[in-house]
Subunit: 302 residues, 2 copies
């Protein structure tokens, strides 16, 4: 079933304790689309500026991502982000951010995309997410991501968005900020009360937590020894999850759990190299092998 993602494409500069990667391909929609493309064809709606490097476009074309909805806007500049990770590889500081094309009008949605059934609204201004959401009248499942910036400054619009989506994906610190609850179960309950049928709270190296009408699931991360660049971990997690969900259409607790596990695996590969370097060479067979090991790891024989 057709899967679409809307969100940002960026030129990232990343500093980690291990090394730096300057002016590389990034952005929420990019990580999501690349990750989801292992499961299903992905449609992309996003805008870049005329400074967007041709080689980045070439990288996209290596994935099963439909780029009809990628707008290269004349006279505009691409979104840029520069961040530095702490020694723990979990926390990071934003050194600079240039919204550029993200601060302009939204990219257009091609007519051919209007029948999309599975919609992922990657992190951006909730007003933009609301506007894009309305362009998919045949939507069967809408999941959104958000961030502290919008929780703090655009809460009213964000609450309107929450009343219209099926699932929300966000970090534990964001769940706390949104609800005022430190306990993860209570935070998730408070989010469900705002509208979504399910919420996935991402905990970085500690895994992810699902609250669903049929129950709760806590899954660990796939333990990684060599974390090179955590950028895009959350977006590639969401991409793997939604990619799998869009092929099964199974929104039961077991269905979403399996999708989360696939997201966990794709994210575990993504952080092994800077930017999309690992996803560029990743194969579906590698995903399935690590997925099988992950499921085995969690099979407890009492």
């Amino acid at each position: 079933m057709s899967l679409i993602v809307t969100g940002s494409i960026g030129i990232d500069s990343i500093e980690t304790p291990i090394g730096n990667a300057l002016q590389v391909l990034g952005g929420s929609a990019i990580y999501f689309a690349a990750a989801a493309s292992y499961f299903a064809p992905v449609r992309l709606v996003a805008a870049v500026g005329e400074d967007f490097p041709e080689e980045f476009l070439k990288t996209f074309r290596g994935f099963k991502v439909d780029l009809t909805g990628l707008e290269q806007r004349k006279g505009s500049k691409t979104f840029r982000w520069h961040g530095r990770y702490h020694n723990n590889m979990n926390d990071r500081d934003t050194l600079s951010v240039e919204l550029n094309v993200l601060a302009e009008k939204l990219p257009g949605v091609p007519d051919a995309y209007r029948d999309s059934r599975f919609v992922f609204l990657a992190n951006t201004h909730p007003a933009g997410q609301l506007e894009l959401l309305e362009q998919f009248p045949r939507r069967a499942l809408v999941v959104a991501d958000t961030m502290d910036l919008w929780i703090e400054n655009e809460k009213k619009t964000l609450l309107e968005l929450l009343s219209k989506i099926d699932g929300l994906v966000l970090n534990d610190s964001e769940a706390h900020l949104l609800t005022g609850k430190t306990n993860i179960v209570r935070a998730a309950e408070a989010i469900i009360a705002l509208g979504p049928k399910f919420v996935v709270i991402k905990k970085g190296e500690h895994g992810a937590f699902l609250m669903h009408r049929d129950g709760m699931v806590a899954l660990p991360a796939y333990t990684a020894k060599d974390v090179v660049d955590p950028t895009g971990a959350g977006d590639s997690f969401a991409g793997g999850m939604m990619g799998h969900l869009s092929t099964t259409g199974d929104m039961s607790l077991a269905g979403v759990r399996a999708a989360m596990a696939y997201g966990t695996i794709v994210a575990s590969y993504n952080i092994e190299a800077f930017s999309l370097d690992r996803l560029k060479t990743l194969t579906r067979k590698e995903i399935d092998q690590r997925f099988a090991r992950y499921c085995d790891m969690l099979r407890i024989e009492g």
Copy 2:
């Protein structure tokens, strides 16, 4: 197979955001023994002072714990600890500590205990742990816990202990302190290089991580909505784990994983009330029911 624990018994005063419990029963050996007693009879070696309340002794007697090795020492005072938890219920400050009887000579080991096969050296001075270890010549499995105090001040003795034990259980912050490694896999590898055949790194609300010669396992915590008092979570986790291990004798990766899962479940009950209040009423049937739900939660159907 006979299980023995050596460690502290204390009079705790606990402050949490939810409420306080003053001068209640606590100590590493107490939480361990109570938790393990659901799986196997437990032998206890520990000392208290003459101020130790008779009602606390009564509480012990409700568990399947052999108290022959509990020494009530005349002229001595019981170990006391006063702590306050932060709002996140994970971090805590020690407001005061009186070592009292813990700073005196070790309690004696009854002759009837010398054939013990499974030995848990709960957290105390590593010199004491080493001395106690030697008193069990028929030991088949020795697991120890430790803490930041000994890592910082008694590292040489601690390293000698590590060369003589089979398993180490410690917190993630302690694993980092001991090895200088932030990555959990690298920290665990560094600990294995010091001697133990396996190491379990406890991550509080984020679960636990096992490194074993046959592989690695990350397990989430059993998600709790109502955390009343986290005191003893790590000790009751270790108690459930060692209790189960002592009944199966299965030290394979799968065997230790199942034991960790039982530890996870007992700890999840322990934190539902202050002191041993929840364990006092807990039944083996409740443990098995939650264990089954936990295993189901982690069974992913791809």
